[in-house]
Symmetry: C2
Subunit: 467 residues, 2 copies
């Protein structure tokens, strides 16, 4: 075994896996670790360095994702051949495909990362047309700071879309745009008198939780029932604000039925509180009747509605939106006077055209079908390959699901899968207390994988987990 | 005089000018105020409604900027002809040009708004090429969330640019990208343990001050000397962090000499504090030798450097950057793991190409000359037209300057100018205590006006202010 002597400093505040990753990357770049050197197994290295297996695993995962190492079937992880490494260092892509230089390998790593979306069928030509048209307008509106609330025409299109697809009735004046959901939540916390403590589903979306906590708010974790947040527990808490994902609980995937939505709204009216509804991927439903958004049922004007184009269109436009309650919109707008808009007006103007021309609607229709087919393939292959070894959680909508690999540990599963060139994740970070995440859970995002890759990936998991 | 009966509610928390603006806009849209109706003068309406002249003026300014009313020379403000109003209501541009329908008028309002940039000479073709090339790459890197720290190639280009133009030596790993300076400052406040109180130049940039205050920080205002922030006062304060604009004080325009920069750095080293250096428009210097950025002189790794493409390129790409001190970069990066990038990867990839191809450098060179010519025209016309009536403040760099219109009041000046179709601003909001802003100050941004407009605008001001 090659000698590795990283100095890991537990006091430094820098996560150990980051330190280990940086060390290993450095060793590879310096040539101390050479082409085709085999890395120690996760277990070996974790024992040797007295760090958790999770630390080693995460560092390895990052090396793999950045193309410094590759996995060889049933054999382990190896430093990439130098010529391919040079490519990595020169172009340094965020997430290059791991090319195999050796025999008996899956040709590419299959990455079940949540957040990736379908690109093979993306309407590049139409989107380009909209971008170029917006660009050629060459006005202050498109080239300057733009409307601080967001492109007026785009806000009108979003209002129309929300009415048609989600039953949400609102004026374009109530809509605010921002560069992603986190930027929006940070703006909310800056401009509204958010309470000191905010209730959230447990588990719940880590992206929003982190922002709220970093803005000095305390999170009150709310247990989930089989059909969503426990309104009873919410009642018993002192919270006057709650963040929820009723149409597709993130990450567990349940869909809140109408009667519970009404109970939740009732809570807000009685408490004189507010509900932040994150309707991030409501477009993608595979079973059952569509249920109107909380916001559509909200007769008391107590729901702050969040939406995003990251799932229905592209994460890469970094464009999300909020519908403010009518009574709060004007004040929010006037507080916004000191802020500039965070989304490029060019992107906004292009998206405006894309929606106005009807391209967005037909894109959504197409994507829905496409993801549904993939989703079916995923479920079928899981049943066929993993069968009674696993339970499936949250399979009714969205672009991910969870596996419960009975009796196994996530860290071991992720590591084994890695050795077969399949990248999987544990959903641990979405628990306020990550220890509470059942260790047997694995999260599979399938948005960026076509049917063949999905099939290959699941077959890889079967080989890795149940040899 | 037409009858106006707005119900203005001083308790509502909504600024009165907003309420008044909304009322007047509604009256026009409903047809209660008709084409060619003359609005009461600012003084008349402020007496009639018992509100400040400032309130009425701001509401009128907004109506003018949105194209609901127009100014007629020496005569007052009138509701726009209906056909033109329809255009406004249909297309609803953020800041339409006010077309005149009547005689003896300046053909367009001339807007001295700070923040507008030159578009006539913008290299649309090259920028389009870069955008389309990036788009056609069609990779996860460009269409997905992208590197959370920012496009790696673009960060390298920025590092190179900062070295060449500002003497700043840094690795691309120390650079972080975000959708505008405010988004960056909000991120800083979320991820760094910023002190509870932060020192700032008084007056200073309102955009950053507002974010810091909304993030719960207290501002310690620092007086300015003729050449920048008073380091003596900083020493006497308890502050351990200061936000400064040394290369072009905003809004007063002084440039901090090297010996004071060194004193300021010394303060940071002794105090073990941090300096946030906002180098927002250092490209545009019209007099004197370039002075290296604080960051370039910072041997103690205590400067957090902020830059933006909003002045040197386009506000509409919403792209700004930060250079983290070496010792803090890794920790910042690891805390960023829970965040996604706020700038569209498409925009980043396009900007990467634009810089790599050398287009950015030649663009800057061209713009520098162009703004210099405009700046000269502005100074010459001010001297010629306003002569000894005014003092000029901050004329050595940038895209704005201040006028001190001796013995006059800004509100009156803004109002008078409006009647001549010239939109000017008071810089009041950049004072922590706006009352402390000398009432005779007027802020003129000239970035978006060509030489002819600048000349017309200043001639308009002479007619308005010194008839
Ligand atoms: C619950 C939830 N909300 C929102 C988002 C989307 O965030 P953004 O708009 O920043 O892409 C996601 C994406 O992962 C999510 O899971
Ligand atoms: C002092 C200062 N910093 C930064 C900016 C630019 O901010 P942004 O990057 O959001 O365009 C400005 C623009 O007005 C400014 O005056």
């Amino acid at each position: 075994m090659i000698s590795l002597t990283p100095e890991l400093d537990k006091q430094s505040g820098i996560p150990l896996y980051q330190q280990l990753f940086a060390y290993l990357k450095g060793q590879i770049e310096l040539g101390m670790l050479r082409e085709n050197d085999r890395l120690p197994s996760i277990r070996q290295l974790s024992v040797y360095l007295s760090v958790s297996k999770n630390t080693v695993e995460t560092a390895y995962q990052q090396l793999l994702a950045e193309g410094y190492i590759q996995s060889r079937l049933r054999s382990g992880l190896y430093v990439m051949p130098l010529d391919q490494l040079e490519g990595v260092k020169k172009s340094k892509p965020a997430r290059p495909e791991v090319k195999s230089g050796a025999v008996r390998l899956p040709p590419n790593a299959i990455n079940f990362e949540y957040g990736d979306v379908e690109l093979e069928h993306f309407p590049v030509r139409l989107w380009k047309k909209c971008l170029v048209d917006a660009l050629e307008e060459c006005t202050t509106e498109v080239y300057g700071y733009g409307d601080r609330q967001g492109h007026k025409g785009l806000r009108s299109e979003i209002a129309r879309y929300l009415y048609q697809s989600r039953g949400v009735v609102c004026a374009s004046d109530q809509i605010f745009l921002s560069a992603g959901t986190q930027t929006m939540v940070s703006l909310l916390a800056q401009l509204l008198p958010l309470p000191e403590a905010i209730a959230m589903e447990e588990p719940g979306y880590n992206g929003v939780r982190t922002v709220l906590m970093n803005m000095g708010r305390r999170i009150i974790p709310m247990p989930l029932e089989h059909d969503g947040i426990s309104v009873e527990h919410l009642r018993e808490s002192a919270a006057s604000m709650v963040y929820v994902t009723p149409s597709h609980q993130f990450p567990l995937g349940m869909i809140m039925p109408v009667h519970n939505r009404i109970k939740l709204l009732q809570w807000a009216y009685e408490r004189d509180g507010y509900i932040i509804e994150d309707d991030f991927d409501s477009e993608l439903r595979y079973q059952g009747q569509p249920i109107p958004a909380l916001k559509a049922l909200d007769t008391g004007d107590k729901v702050i509605y969040l939406g995003t184009f990251s799932k229905s269109f592209l994460p890469g436009i970094r464009l999300s939106y909020m519908v403010m309650p009518e009574r709060a919109a004007q004040e929010f707008r006037s507080k916004l006077q000191a802020y500039s808009q965070s989304v490029s007006p060019l992107i906004q103007a292009a998206m405006y055209r894309f929606m106005k021309e009807g391209y967005f609607e037909s894109h959504i229709r197409k994507m829905k079908k496409l993801y549904q087919t993939r989703h079916r393939m995923l479920l079928r292959t899981i049943q066929e390959q993993l069968g009674s070894h696993v339970g499936i959680i949250g399979e009714r909508s969205g672009m991910h699901l969870l596996l419960d690999v009975y009796g196994r540990s996530g860290d071991e599963l992720v590591e084994k899968a890695l050795e077969y060139g399949v990248i999987t994740y544990t959903p641990r970070k979405h628990w306020l207390h990550p220890e509470a995440c059942p260790p047997s859970y694995i999260m599979l995002g399938f948005g960026g994988l076509n049917e063949q890759k999905i099939r290959e990936g699941i077959i890889g998991l079967r080989k890795a987990w149940f040899p």
